[in-house]
């Protein structure tokens, strides 16, 4: 059964690439989205037969969540006026980033609970094993990084960081375009504050690798979310489409990284393709506005007070 699931993922990945290719030309654009849609339905249905899924309650929760959220998204997407499309893209993109971050959170918390479980097992096993063996075993399971393996932990934490930033940043972009948020600057010397928050976020990302408790991980997620807000707040409304495209690329990257953590090739391929395509698209959009990307991202910092006045 698992082979069938993996084959479905493979076909879905092919359909995504063909769909994006189609969407890059006006003549084939409408076929492109349909192909990608078929790929998405195929991958979603196949996942219900994924061998890692268990507990009837979890199946029910999955169906409930897809029905409620999918229904709401369908309804809101259908009735939003054409001129409000960019902020809807920002909203849905932010949700994707948040989902990637949440997947990272589930896996990190699961790793932490396994560390607790293994240390209890060690105590029980101490009678039978020599002290040296117990120490070896404990060294292999003492923190998140050693339990998940360095590659999985690094990409999982990075994906969670990028996803959380894309989540809160996209929500700010949505609020600005939807006319719910007008302030261009939150704090004095926003640029310095942003740098400080960014450094703290990266620090706690590294600490999350070496931690064996959940407190550090929670602080890490809060900091990443705050950084996303601070990053998007100084950027002016007219530049928002470029910034949404950037967050779109970041979400793609986060999805690719979490796909590696879960061992899911469809997520790796689709996420990385979007990450690369989105990066290029961001550059093209900035170029179409006749200004370099760095200008879009950082120009708001110095001029924000002047704009407000």
């Amino acid at each position: 059964m698992n082979t069938v699931v993996q084959l479905c993922y493979f076909v879905a990945a092919v359909l995504f690439i063909l769909g994006l290719k189609g969407m890059s030309s006006p003549r084939t654009a409408r076929k492109g989205i349909v192909w990608a849609g078929i790929g998405m339905v195929l991958a979603t249905v196949a996942t219900f037969f994924h061998p890692d899924l268990h507990h009837a309650v979890n199946y029910l929760l999955i169906i409930l969540a897809i029905a409620v959220s999918g229904g709401l998204a369908w309804w809101s997407g259908k009735r939003v006026p054409m001129t409000d499309m960019p902020q809807m893209v920002a909203l849905y993109n932010g949700m994707g980033g948040g989902a990637a971050a949440a997947i990272g959170a589930v896996e990190l918390f699961k790793a932490v609970s396994q560390i607790g479980a293994t240390s209890a097992q060690q105590l029980a096993a101490q009678k039978d094993l020599g002290l040296e063996q117990v120490e070896q075993f404990a060294a292999g399971h003492s923190h998140v990084g050693s339990l998940l393996g360095a590659d999985h932990a690094v990409l999982g934490i990075s994906g969670a960081l990028i996803g959380a930033v894309a989540f809160s940043g996209s929500l700010v972009a949505w609020a600005k375009l939807d006319g719910r948020l007008h302030r261009n600057q939150l704090l004095p010397a926003q640029q310095l504050v942003n740098l400080g928050v960014f450094v703290a976020t990266v620090l706690f990302a590294i600490l999350s690798y070496y931690t064996d408790g959940s407190a550090v991980i929670i602080v890490f997620f809060v900091l990443a979310l705050v950084f996303g807000v601070f990053m998007a707040i100084p950027i002016g409304g007219a530049d928002m489409p470029v910034v949404i495209s950037l967050f779109n690329a970041l979400t793609g990257l986060a999805v690719g990284f979490e796909g590696y953590l879960l061992g899911n090739p469809a997520m790796i391929i689709a996420g990385t393709v979007v990450g690369a395509a989105g990066s290029l698209l961001t550059q093209l959009m900035a170029k179409a506005m006749n200004r370099p990307l760095t200008n879009v991202l950082f120009s708001g910092f110095g001029t924000a007070t002047a704009d407000a006045g």
Partner: protein
Amino acid sequence: MIEGLIALWIFMLAAFTGYEVISRVPVILHTPLMSGSNFVHGIVLVGAMVALGEASGATEQLIGFIAVILAAGNAVGGYVVTERMLEMFKTKDEQNKKGGQE
């Protein structure tokens, strides 16, 4: 299953694919394509389903549930919005057909 170097190859090839697939895209398609790629990373739904499906304990279930809620919104909303944007790119045949019926 997909470990270390193999995954690195996949990352590399997928990145080049993404770059190649949308090079030379006309300006008029920038926003629909952004929306379309936004839909494609809705595949995160699959990962969210697995994360919730293998969850044990209330905390993991709660975060997993949030993950599926967010991911389903991304996938469904992304599709609907992209589809509506691309409505404007109907081919001449389709437009003529519609015009003939009216």
